[in-house]
């Protein structure tokens, strides 16, 4: 789906935006009245999920934000101004996210927002971003539907893209013919990725032998569906769920009903909670944004080193995406110039090319990056770098 046409469109957008950026720059000295960046600090807002089901994601993102902000300040800030992070919790709730976002939007010193964490809260915030003309970069919200093509951007790839890449990996690298899908219909992430995988799998000539669903993505018992999948003769089960469900429930239950094939999942498997015998997690793969073992990217090791020094722990994907998000905002504000307004910053983000710890990418028209996807494999319960699937 990321055809050459799209990249060309992206490149055209970059040029257009850089022109816009220039004209903004020339007005630098004359206008300073309503400039949001006035004063000697730049405020970047963040709305993340620091409590509830997805708390682990939000907390990691904030750690990534904080690391990037402290690095930027140590090197003199953005355009000579110190950066301040105004961090709010949305509890994983759409209403809370809207309230937090409105609070940031009402504060004129806020130039850009990093967040929200999950797709559900991002969907709630997306129209607000367009209304308040405040550029918002969601680090890890992968749902296709959040795109507005205007003020909302993301650092991660989107669900349909992730499902397609997983299907490609299953067909080309694992060489399976029969696949089954299990997803939670009540959860847009789970069903979005699952549907995209099933569609792509059929296109690639694989047979989708069973398609099962659960009412929510946080059920505990899946044996009934898994028994049917086992009986269908599938060689690979694609189960797009979160780390807290796939780890302790789906994979062990699949093994206990006798399923010995591959299990594949999306980036929600990051930080998978393991229980019992580690060997049951063998033959499990997942697509993600970042790998600590990725030696092809020099930024990765530097990032890991400074993250460890600050937090005394290894960074995960969400910390990496959060870190990149702040640097994207930095790059955009720098380009927009000293007296940049919110609109200038938005124009600088649109179509930008960026190089970070989660890869090299270009923003497409809809606000999602076209980027490579990393596939990790669980070995002895630990995620190990398997391959990088390049965009087609």
């Amino acid at each position: 789906m990321f055809s050459k046409k799209m990249i060309a469109a992206g490149a055209a957008a970059v040029m257009a935006m850089s022109l816009a950026g220039c004209s903004g720059g020339s007005m630098d000295d004359s206008s300073s009245s309503s400039s949001a960046a006035s004063g000697d600090t730049i405020t970047i807002g963040s709305v993340t999920t620091n409590s509830g089901t997805a708390a682990a994601y939000g907390e990691a993102e904030v750690k990534g934000f904080e690391l990037a902000v402290s690095e930027i300040n140590a090197k003199g800030g953005i355009n000579g101004k110190k950066v301040k992070l105004e961090s709010l919790d949305d509890k994983g709730d759409a209403t809370e996210a809207s309230n937090a976002y409105n609070k940031l939007a009402a504060d004129n010193s806020v130039l850009a927002v990093a967040g929200p964490t999950i797709s559900a809260t991002t969907a709630a915030v997306a129209p607000l971003a367009d209304q308040t003309k405040l550029v918002t970069i969601a680090p890890a919200a992968t749902a296709d539907s959040i795109e507005t093509g205007n003020y909302l951007f993301r650092t991660c790839f989107k669900d349909s893209y992730q499902g397609e890449v997983a299907a490609r990996f299953a067909a080309e690298n694992l060489k399976v013919k029969k696949v089954a899908v299990l997803y939670g219909t009540g959860d847009p992430y789970s069903s979005g990725v699952g549907e995209a995988f099933a569609k792509a799998a059929e296109k690639l000539g694989m047979q989708v032998v069973d398609k099962e669903s659960s009412s929510s993505a946080d059920d505990t018992e899946y044996s009934a569906q898994l028994q049917k999948i086992q009986a269908s003769g599938a060689e690979l089960l694609y189960a797009p769920y979160y780390y807290s469900v796939a780890g302790p429930y789906i994979i062990p239950q699949a093994r206990s009903v006798g399923f010995e094939g591959y299990v594949m999942g999306p980036d929600g498997y990051d930080g998978l909670k393991l229980t019992g015998d580690k060997s049951q997690y063998d033959k499990t793969f997942y697509t993600t944004h970042y790998s600590a073992d990725d030696t092809s990217n020099t930024k990765v090791q530097d990032f890991i080193k400074s993250y460890k020094a600050k937090n005394n722990a290894d960074p995960n994907t969400f910390a990496a995406l959060g870190y990149d998000t702040i640097y994207m905002i930095k790059q955009a504000i720098e380009k927009a110039g000293k007296s940049a307004t919110r609109e200038d910053v938005r124009n600088a983000v649109a179509g930008m090319s960026f190089e970070g710890v989660t890869g090299k990418f270009t923003m497409d028209k809809s606000g999602s990056p076209t980027k490579s996807v990393i596939v990790l494999e669980l070995k002895d319960g630990k995620p190990v770098y398997n391959t990088t699937v390049q965009p087609k």
Binding site: A55, G184, T185, E221, A224, Q227, K228, K273, G276
Partner: protein, 308 residues
């Protein structure tokens, strides 16, 4: 045996697996309701408390060379303590001043307090519980029956019979029944109503600890919200079985588990894909509505026109 029959029996057993846990939880609901006519909505959260105690104490117990299930002892003690504190601090004052509606709202408030309290102490993230026990499956040819499920059912039956005998034949049990029949008259007969109710809560909370052990053995993960949906479904089970009836809770729990599992397995095929397995929760709650309409007292309940 054909594959279809093996599949059906396996589905029955996965229904029994979750159903036996619902049954244990429903026993706690029904116990408290039977005595003081209070639906203790915080009961699901007592299970969460028990699960956290298990998670925290199992490593120490295993390190001391004891089997992991010994953690049930601290879990029961903590749950009983929490149950009695909740009763004395929240339910008793409300029961003396308010009516059954205020008591119900207090129970919901306690539920939220426990959930948010746990989140403040342990954080919102999921945490895994170390393996408690793993019984080998019993195999009949191609059919595998999980040992853990059989143990949960047997344990549920033992507790059910024990409770029934306790309530029928012991002095405290008779006091409980007297309090449930007529509180004022029980006082006149020299029964200490408050200590009888406290005992009821202690037993109900102790049952929650046992339920959390069996739950964590099957689903080894804890989070502050884990008790909410579990409690809700066990409540449906208790209503289906006839709330207040001890054997009813057992029957209701197993029935809900079976309905859930069979819906997930077959509803898609039966309806030609119109209704998918995703509807299993909706069907469970639809059962609650149908029961309330057709036989409000439940399968085993007595008809006494009780307001719920």
């Amino acid at each position: 045996m054909t594959d279809q029959i093996i599949m059906f029996i396996s589905q029955l057993f996965s229904g029994l697996k979750i159903g036996s846990v619902y049954a244990l939880v429903a026993l706690g609901y029904t116990m408290v309701y039977g005595i003081i006519r209070l639906i203790n909505f915080a009961h699901g959260d007592f299970i969460m408390v028990g699960a956290y105690v298990l998670m925290l104490t199992i490593p120490a117990i295993v390190a001391a060379g004891l089997p992991a299930w010994v953690a049930i002892v601290p879990a029961v003690l903590v749950c009983v303590a929490v149950g009695i504190i909740v009763e004395k601090a929240a339910y008793k004052p409300v029961r003396e001043k308010g009516n059954s509606m205020t008591a119900l709202i207090t129970a919901i408030a306690m539920s939220l307090l426990l959930e948010n309290g746990a989140q403040a102490i342990f954080g919102a993230d999921f945490q895994t519980v170390p393996t408690i026990f793993h019984l080998p499956s019993i195999a009949f040819g191609k059919l595998k029956l999980p040992g853990d499920t059989l143990l949960t059912i047997v344990l549920g039956l033992i507790i059910m019979i024990g409770l029934q005998l306790f309530v029928k034949f012991t002095k405290q049990g008779k006091a409980m029944r007297a309090v449930s029949e007529d509180k004022e008259a029980a006082v006149l007969m020299g029964i200490n109503v408050n200590s009888t109710i406290a005992l009821t809560f202690a037993i109900g909370s102790g049952l929650a600890a046992v339920a959390s052990l069996m739950y964590c053995a099957a689903y080894p993960q804890v989070s502050p919200m884990m008790g909410a949906m579990l409690g809700l479904k066990a409540f449906v089970a208790a209503v289906l079985g006839g709330i207040g009836s001890i054997p009813g809770a057992m029957i209701g729990g197993i029935a809900i588990g079976l309905v859930e599992s069979l819906t997930k397995a077959y509803i898609g095929t039966i309806t030609g894909g119109v209704i998918t397995s995703a509807f299993s929760d909706a069907i469970v709650f639809a059962i609650l509505i149908v029961v309330l309409l057709v036989k409000p007292s439940g399968i085993m309940g007595k008809n006494e026109g009780e307001k719920v």
